[in-house]
Amino acid sequence: MIALTVRQSAAPIVRRIGAMLLTLWFVLTLTFVLTFAIPTDPARAVAGPKATQEQLETIRLSLRLDEPMAVQYVRYLASAAVLDLGYSHSQRRPVSDILLERLPYTALLAVSAIMFQLIVGGALGLWAAVRSGGLFDKVVFVGALVVVALPQFWVGLVLLFVFGFKLGWFPLGGASLPEGLVLPALTLGLAGVAWTSRIVRATASEALASNIVLGLRGRGIAPRRIVLKHVVRLAAGPILSVLALDLGLLLGGAVLVEAVFGWPGMGNTAFQALQQKDLPLIMGSVIVGSIFVLVINALLDTARVYLDPRTR
């Protein structure tokens, strides 16, 4: 029995990893092409505005910029495969070291935001569905509409102002844990709470009116169990699907939120790299960010298939 299931699930996993690698290859190629589209001379960026022609030539040779594009491309892919993402001239460290250091901060922020939105958004959506048509439902509906339209960085500023400045409950930035995590995670997850509550409310309403719940009621199953066990499971599939799609946007928001709160994650790193025109670091951030999204995507997908067997 177990052997059967393992074999059955092996093929899809292999296909999944294959698709991920393919997408990753596309991403790498895209970033490679972008580096050539940039008019800035990478050698000049490394050397600074006062470099002489000879210095530029030396740097160009050391960066192997004279080789044909195809060779550079292969070299690029090869080094990416071993996670050698180049050398950052603005921080004088290998790019991979920098990103490895900063990735956990962004990951922590992202995961906290996701937890926040799933729990709070889910609870709001469930209750709105159970009391469908009532005041709570209407308030949540309008509230979600308003919240999702608020610019994230502005919300961050306001929260910082109210809870950091006026009330002094939280620090005004930096990376102290856990106090420093609260406001950024809240800011990042707030929009998520809004759309999560709407989707949960939709699927939960549908589930409550369905024959499944009618059957459960007909068997006298307690309401709490109906909602917390059955309705939640039924809503899980759609929520995880949309969450996976939203990941890219979430990371984009992370850049802004990290900037507002001074959170030392990858977003902040990339922002500083842009200001310094540190090309390897920028590209490295893009690549690592993409990998992060792909991995979380795969995790979410696995969770969804487990929770909702209809999608198999």
Partner: protein
């Protein structure tokens, strides 16, 4: 199979008593409340099998749900009296009803495809229902295997770990029956359990219900639009039209000597039942089922009744007791000369 022909002496108290059940629709934007089911009475003895027959829109499914108090706004239902197994549920709270459902009275829905949850295994759903009573998980698993065997599912251990969408329609309906019987209810309400199934499977499910009913002594109230299954399945039958009961009685009484014009027309309209002289065209009932939102005064069947009297469109007929059965028809009561 024992099928009593007449009502006989009632020595045992009925297991389900419904008196004066009515369900109405209250439109959201105000306006007149619309009755969907009116004056519904039912008295079911232990182990007895009833069939409630009617066309679409006759209110039979709503009546079934109302008996278990499972109607949602904008519908609402009340009754003069509802008793299950001697327990008075007339003004019972929602909590009391939740307690009773599953344990004393259970329901099988029409479409097995949508009635079982697709995100949990069969075993999970069975155990959940069985464990409404304090039973260990282990014992619950054993009992669920037992139940699956009872409903005729081969290789039950394998099925416990399966998901409903991996099984055929017939098997899903069997599982639905198992779920309904899990807590040993005294009454089972089956809302058109065979309509969504293949013809061959239909017969199997019906047979299963009869067998189970005989074996466990569970009374069954089956909602159906198919008169053909009556002789094989039911002891008694109630015919509904336009939200009201028009005729009730034992199956042989009603099928052999139908009194109400609607029942007569229904029986005539069955293919292959007409005599050779009439075999040219199927004697269908002219007109369309009544629009419950625009009910006229008087008998709901009057517009389509061939033998309608003038009173029929004026006054709603009361149910009268004739020959040990009930009929609601002016024609019948006037010709019999009595109102019982």
């Amino acid at each position: 199979m024992t099928k009593p022909d007449t009502l006989g002496v009632q020595s045992v108290a009925p297991i389900l008593v419904v008196e004066g059940l009515r369900t109405f629709l209250t439109p959201d934007r105000g306006g007149v409340t619309i009755p969907l089911v009116e004056r519904f009475d039912l008295s079911v003895d232990p182990g007895e099998r009833w069939a409630i027959v009617g066309e679409s829109g006759s209110g039979k499914s709503i009546a079934a749900r109302s008996i278990m108090c499972l109607v949602d706004p904008p519908l609402s239902s009340t009754a003069d009296r509802i008793e299950i197994g001697g327990l008075d549920l007339t003004d019972a709270s929602r909590a009391a009803w939740r307690n009773v459902r599953g344990q004393r009275i259970a329901m099988i829905l029409q479409d097995p495809l949508t009635a079982l949850s697709p995100v949990f295994t069969v075993g999970n759903q069975l155990v959940e229902t069985i464990r409404r009573r304090p039973v260990s998980v282990h014992d619950a698993r054993d009992r669920s295997l037992d139940l699956l065997r009872q409903v005729g599912i081969p290789d039950p251990a394998l099925r416990l770990n399966a998901y409903p969408h991996e099984l055929s329609g017939g098997m899903r309906q069997r599982i639905a029956i198992a779920l309904a019987l899990a807590c040993e209810p005294q009454v089972l309400i089956a809302d058109e359990p065979t309509t969504a199934l293949d013809v061959t499977v239909q017969a199997q499910i019906l047979e299963l219900l009869v067998t189970l009913s005989e074996k466990t002594g569970t009374a069954v109230v089956m909602i159906t639009h198919d008169i053909g299954i009556l002789p094989e399945f039911a002891h008694k039958v109630a015919v509904m039209y336009g939200g009201r009961l028009v005729e009730t009685g034992t199956v042989s009484q009603v099928l052999n000597t139908p009194l109400h014009p609607y029942t007569q027309a229904l029986l005539r309209a069955r293919p292959g039942r007409s005599s050779s002289a009439e075999r040219r065209r199927l004697p269908v009932i002219g007109g369309a089922p009544p629009d419950l939102f625009r009910m006229q005064r008087g008998c709901p069947f009057a517009p389509r009744c061939e033998a309608a009297l003038s009173t029929c469109s004026e006054i709603k007929p009361e149910r009268a007791m004739i020959d040990g059965r009930r009929v609601a028809c002016h024609l019948v009561t006037s010709s019999m000369g009595t109102a019982g």
